[in-house]
């Protein structure tokens, strides 16, 4: 969550300057100078290389046969290359526990979980953030504060109560407040859980962003007779695309990499289990096939990489919007 924290530090600030325009624009000079300094460049390159080495090691290991991996370090592969795709073949095409076809069904499941969970939380959070920042109603500050405070509740604490709610409903005496939804064996509990757990941070981030949009814009829209929904759709959404995109990346990665929520809420059904669940089982009961984990890990980062690179320009804009433009 460190990146997320960094993101919200960076986000609201730039637009604040943009809007109020009372403070002088920050000089781009020092930043640019810092980045063009040769020593800084060397440091950046060195850090990047250091940071990439473990991933490279993972890649090389995933291509080596089991015996080699057990006996020598991955770097020796450069001197005695004996690489092959057998680990990938095993991971992708050798089925396990009742679902044939290896990893691919789980890949589809992962997408079927991650995409809706990301979309649901973004849509709800964007609307909530708009309402909390631009719709005047009594208690909106309190609601915002409570949602913000909910961030301190650890996800793990909510697992069992939420599962009880899904499977047994909520009752007060004999009165049923929420009926028991028969959701087991579907994607729905996983979507709902991810959406709920994402809500506080998402609303907080987007609220900070949306509340800093220029008041003039909103007033002009109201004068022109736009409804709240119209304002939200035509003005707010296009303007906060960078914030939405950067949060979408975080949320997607979070859901994609999640194992705990999936294990708990997709419980008992390989038909809806995501890839992380399958990867956790790859090495076998006694860890005998751990060489498959390297290949599995590499396959699992392909989709997040695609998402990251396709949303990257929004991501950078979301983090830095305005700070250099002045």
């Amino acid at each position: 969550m460190n990146e997320t924290a960094a993101a919200h530090d960076a986000e609201p600030d730039p637009l604040a300057k943009h809007v109020t325009d009372t403070r002088p624009a920050p000089a781009p000079g020092p930043v640019r100078k810092a980045f063009s300094n040769p020593i800084a460049s060397v440091i950046v390159v060195v850090v990047t290389v250091l940071w990439t080495i473990p991933t490279l090691g993972l890649l090389v290991t995933s291509l080596r046969p089991k015996q080699d991996v057990a006996e020598t370090g991955w770097w020796t592969a450069f001197a005695h290359p004996d690489l092959g795709l057998s680990n990938y073949h095993t991971v992708l095409f050798e089925g396990g526990f009742g679902v044939s076809g290896g990893l691919l069904p789980y890949l589809v499941n992962s997408l079927a979980i991650s995409i809706p969970a990301t979309v649901f939380s973004l849509v709800l959070a964007a609307m909530a953030a708009y309402a909390l920042s631009w719709v005047r109603f009594r208690g909106s500050d309190v609601i915002f504060f409570v949602i913000f405070a909910l961030q301190v509740v650890p996800l793990q604490m909510a697992l069992i109560p939420l599962l009880q709610l899904f499977s047994g409903g909520a009752h007060l005496g004999t009165v049923t407040i929420i009926p028991a939804f028969d959701l087991s064996g579907t994607y729905a509990p996983v979507w709902l859980a991810h959406t709920m757990f994402a809500m506080p941070l998402a609303i907080f981030l987007l609220h900070n962003f949306i509340s800093q949009l220029p008041r003039d814009l909103m007033e002009a829209a109201i004068v022109d007779g736009a409804s709240h929904f119209k304002i939200f759709r035509s003005i707010v959404l296009p303007l906060c695309t960078p914030a939405l995109a950067s949060f979408a990346i975080f949320e997607f990665l979070w859901v994609w990499n999640d194992l705990l929520v999936a294990l708990t809420f997709a419980g008992g059904t390989p038909e809806v289990a995501p890839m992380t669940v399958r990867l956790a089982q790859l090495s076998g009961s006694f860890g005998g096939r751990w060489e498959l984990l390297t290949a599995g890990a590499f396959l699992s980062i392909i989709i997040p990489l695609i998402v990251f690179f396709s949303l990257q320009r929004y991501f950078v804009r979301g983090l830095l919007a305005g700070s250099v433009k002045g």
């Binding site: 089991k66 015996q67 057990a70 396990g96 526990f97 009742g98 809706p116 697992l159 069992i160 939420l162 599962l163 009880q164 899904f166 499977s167 047994g168 409903g169 049923t176 009926p179 028991a180 939804f181 028969d182 959701l183 087991s184 064996g185 579907t186 994607y187 729905a188 979507w191 194992l259 294990l263 708990t264 419980g267 008992g268 059904t269 390989p270 038909e271 809806v272 289990a273 669940v277 956790a280 089982q281 790859l282 090495s283 076998g284 009961s285 006694f286 860890g287 005998g288 096939r289």
Partner: protein, 451 residues
């Protein structure tokens, strides 16, 4: 799992496409009553379980592929003939996930529980369903002690499925032969053989590893348990499990000294890996590798360690590696066997669940599983021993079903989780890794025992 009540309310309130569209819930349980079509041909033997065609039961366990594939194969015929689909899910977070799902009201129909302690914890939730009469009848095929481990407070809940034998010593036939050592039959022989190997200066007699991720330390608990059982017999062992004999009791500290003289003897360990401390940092999976490399003669590990030998390793008395029964420390204790096993607990009493439960407790199923693949032993006396093809399975099966054996379940699986899968692991790891005193180790473990 009150499916019917749920079906009444659910559509009325939440008819959202997202929940309804992919719901594959309970649905029609078809002809449950006696109108079952007669099964013929190869299927005839499944007649007692017929009449639940088109139903599905869920099963949750800690057994993963490839071992779980054999499990699924073993009941494939049953599923095909009776039409009961068994949806299996394995997870290595089983021990933490099962309580979450059960208390959350999302319990599976079946759980394969390897720890009697966890079974007791599940029974306390009130969600475990007592087995049907058919299962109870099958239990006469197990030795009475197994039925005890599947019971909580005297009530029988879970039928044993597999059994594994922990009291085995894997060894290199070549190293022992070259040193002119016979396979040891007594503890004194074993110690003499170790000493001889150590003095010969070639391969060290023992190697070991207790690393196992978050479960690091469990192999060390097995070593201690075997010495306690082999030194004092079953009665003291049971008292130790119940904490009537404390860890700081002289009997247990003496057992720890025996263990220290064996696996913490710098002249004897850690063949091909390093010094005594390296036992704590070596994973149990890697601990046997030096045996094949000729740098270590023996490794104490359970029968399931067979899966760790690389493909092509010949497991035989004249092969690359083989195993013998760890002898009793005290010759007066007859044939001590420490083992583990798995128990099938049901969380539902639907007729198809009971049919599956009956079948999986029968010797028919046990035989079917034995025939599917090696590396699995049933303690069911009804299994024909000639079905075992693997020499280690044969050895384990003969010891596990031996009526004269002093069989006891893995103590750390029976003790409260705070000790058995908590402090005991940690303290014994510290004992190996940091050389903590026996006094401190035992005091720490006793202090962690729940009051």
């Amino acid at each position: 799992m009150n499916a019917r009540r749920r079906l009444l309310v659910a559509p009325a309130v939440l008819a959202l496409a997202l929940t309804a569209a992919c719901s594959n819930s309970s649905g029609g349980s078809g002809g449950g009553s006696g109108s079952a079509a007669a099964l013929t041909g190869d299927c005839a033997k499944f007649q007692p379980y017929a009449g639940h065609s088109g139903t599905k039961v869920t099963m949750f366990a800690s057994i993963l592929s490839p071992e779980s594939d054999n499990l699924e194969k073993s009941w494939a015929d049953f599923s095909k003939c009776t039409g009961i689909k068994i949806s299996y899910e394995g997870s290595n977070d089983f021990e933490s996930q099962l309580p979450v799902r059960v208390t959350g009201g999302n319990a599976p129909d079946f759980a394969i529980i390897p720890q009697p302690g966890l079974l007791a914890q599940m029974v306390k939730t009130g969600k475990v369903v007592k087995p049907p009469a058919g299962t109870v009848a099958n239990e006469d095929k197990w030795s009475p002690v197994w039925k005890t481990y599947g019971s909580v407070n005297g009530t029988f809940y879970a039928a044993p499925m597999s059994a594994n034998m922990k009291s085995l010593v894997w060894y290199s036939p070549k190293i022992l032969k070259d040193a002119g050592i016979e396979v040891p039959k007594t503890w004194a022989d074993l110690m003499a053989a170790s000493d001889k190997l150590a003095k010969a200066g070639g391969a060290k007699p023992w190697c070991g590893g207790i690393g196992s991720g978050t479960a690091t330390g469990w192999p060390a608990t097995d070593w201690l348990e075997e010495i306690v059982l082999g030194s004092y017999g079953g009665e003291v062992y049971d008292q130790w499990v119940d904490h009537k004999v404390k860890f700081s009791d002289e009997k247990i500290t003496t057992a720890m000294q025996t263990l220290a003289g064996w696996m913490q003897n710098p002249a004897w360990v850690n063949g091909g890996i390093g010094d005594v401390k390296s036992i704590a940092t070596t994973t149990f999976q890697d601990a046997g590798a030096p045996i094949l490399a000729g740098k270590c003669a023996m490794l104490q590990q359970a029968s399931f360690y067979e899966a760790q030998w690389p493909k092509g390793t010949k497991v035989a008395a004249d092969g690359d590696v083989f195993a013998f029964h760890l002898p009793a420390v005290n010759p007066a204790v007859p044939n001590p066997v420490e083992g583990g096993g798995e128990f099938l607990a049901a969380f539902s009493d639907r007729p198809e669940v009971q049919a599956v439960q009956d079948y999986l407790s029968s010797s028919d199923w046990a035989s079917s599983r034995v025939k599917t693949a090696s590396g699995w032993v049933s303690a069911n006396q009804g299994v024909d021993k000639s079905l075992y093809t693997d020499p280690i399975d044969q050895l384990s099966a003969s010891k596990l079903t031996d009526p004269t054996a002093t069989f006891r379940f893995d103590a750390s699986d029976l003790m409260p989780a705070a000790v058995g899968s908590g402090q005991e692991w940690k303290s014994l790891t510290a004992w190996f890794a940091e050389g903590q005193s026996i006094q401190r180790v035992t005091a720490d473990i006793d202090a962690a025992w729940p009051q």
